[in-house]
């Protein structure tokens, strides 16, 4: 019920009736089934890697939104450089391929409980909503497979390590193809 507080009065009545019916275990109507399917179809992905240091807050971040928008940001003050921000709308085909990459990696089955915590060297964040699962992992930067092997969860961290590389490949290809002019 609290969710309805921000909705206008006209909708509030419908909201309360709707919630009451949902709770009353009525047979699922077609619309509810569609909402359920829609919730199962939700897809969102955000990845961040960065640190704060001599050259400011240096980070790389990209985000796949449910409406197809891909946002990419890369920031550094190295040699007084400035932020790069790009965005483009992707087709459902591209989102579908991204989902395939994620589900094949099986990252959704992992947990970051035993992964190294973010530190001064840097941090990584991976947030994914796929269907009815929502993960939000944070960990430190991973220098190489040595860091993966010596961690408390080498199997899970390895999956994360390679998935991040595959996602970066995908995003860099999309962004550079769309925005970058080829030199002669």
């Amino acid at each position: 019920m609290q969710r309805c507080s921000q909705i206008s009065i006209a909708k509030e009545t419908k909201c309360i009736i709707g919630a009451a019916i949902a709770f009353a275990n009525q047979p699922v109507r077609v619309r509810d089934a569609n909402m359920a399917t829609a919730a199962e179809d939700e897809f969102y992905l955000r990845y961040y890697v960065g640190h704060k240091g001599k050259f400011g807050h240096e980070f790389l971040e990209f985000e796949f939104r449910p409406d197809g928008k891909l946002r990419y940001a890369n920031n550094s003050n190295y040699k007084n450089d400035t932020m790069i921000r790009k965005e483009v709308f992707l087709t459902p085909a591209v989102l579908k391929e991204c989902r395939r990459i994620i589900s094949e990696s099986e990252i959704m089955k992992e947990d970051d409980a035993n992964w190294p915590e973010p530190d001064r060297v840097g941090r990584q964040e991976l947030e994914i909503v796929m269907g009815n699962e929502h993960i939000s992992f944070t960990t430190s930067k991973i220098g190489s497979l040595v860091d993966v092997q010596s961690s408390k969860d080498p199997e899970g961290l390895r999956i994360f390590y390679y998935l991040v590389q595959d996602l970066k490949c995908f995003v860099f290809s999309l962004i550079s193809l769309h925005f970058k002019i080829k030199p002669i």
């Binding site: 309805c4 909705i7 206008s8 909708k11 419908k14 909201c15 009736i17 709707g18 919630a19 949902a22 009525q26 077609v30 619309r31 509810d32 909402m35 829609a38 919730a39 179809d41 939700e42 969102y44 955000r46 807050h57 980070f59 971040e61 985000e63 939104r65 449910p66 409406d67 197809g68 946002r71 921000r85 790009k86 483009v88 709308f89 992707l90 087709t91 085909a93 591209v94 989102l95 915590e117 947030e127 009815n132 699962e133 929502h134 993960i135 939000s136 992992f137 944070t138 960990t139 590389q165 595959d166 490949c169 995908f170 290809s173 999309l174 193809l177 769309h178 925005f179 970058k180 080829k182």
Partner: protein, 197 residues
């Protein structure tokens, strides 16, 4: 009685233009844990559905740094302008298509042979799986002209390449995806009460 209830509870969040505007305003606010601002989250009746979403990870327990919200929320992201209409968007120097279902042992030459007939391929990205070294499964191909790309899509989508069926489609479009499956029921809203006899 059940029918009357269905009529009374006739809120179609995706058809409601007011909701859509709210959604559009939120578009620049970056979604973040615990719940991204997805359209489905604002329907009151979905409280039981969002409770069904399993959450996992340190990101939910940590305090989000103030930065996180603002980083992807700013409005000044560069993008290529579009001609206004819906449909595929031209990239900086051509038109880009996505091929999926590519066999893991495919080589660039295989794609050049299959797709080179439709026009000169200006750019080809056939990325590898970083762990196995095999082809990841997708390829991005750029043609200079719209017709070349369109012909490639029409001719190659659903065909076989190296024993596997590939799918070919545009990569970039002009605007957001409008999810059709959320628009159930009547296509147009009518404010008059439904006839009840």
């Amino acid at each position: 009685m059940a029918n009357a209830d269905a009529e009374a509870v006739d809120f179609e969040p995706e058809e409601d233009d007011l909701m859509d505007e709210d959604g559009a305003v939120d578009v620049d606010a970056s979604p973040r844990a615990p719940l991204p601002k997805l359209k489905s989250a604002i329907t009151g009746g979905s409280s039981s559905l969002s409770a069904a979403r399993k959450t996992k990870g340190r990101g939910f327990r940590e305090e989000a740094d103030a930065d996180r919200q603002t980083r992807l929320a700013s409005r000044d992201f560069d993008s290529l302008g579009s001609d206004g209409g819906p449909g595929p968007q031209r990239s900086i120097e051509g038109w880009i298509i996505l091929v999926t279902g590519v066999h893991e042992e495919a080589q660039e030459d295989d794609l050049q042979n299959a797709f080179g007939d439709f026009g000169e391929i200006k750019n080809l990205h056939l990325n590898l799986d970083r762990r196995t070294g095999f082809v990841k499964g997708y390829a991005l191909i750029e043609y200079e002209k719209f017709e070349e790309a369109q012909n490639a899509i029409a001719a190659m989508n659903g065909t076989e390449l190296l024993t596997q069926i590939i799918n070919v489609d545009w990569a970039f479009i002009n605007g957001p995806i409008r999810r059709k499956n959320m628009r159930s029921g009547r296509a147009h809203r009518s404010r008059s009460p439904r006839r009840r006899y």
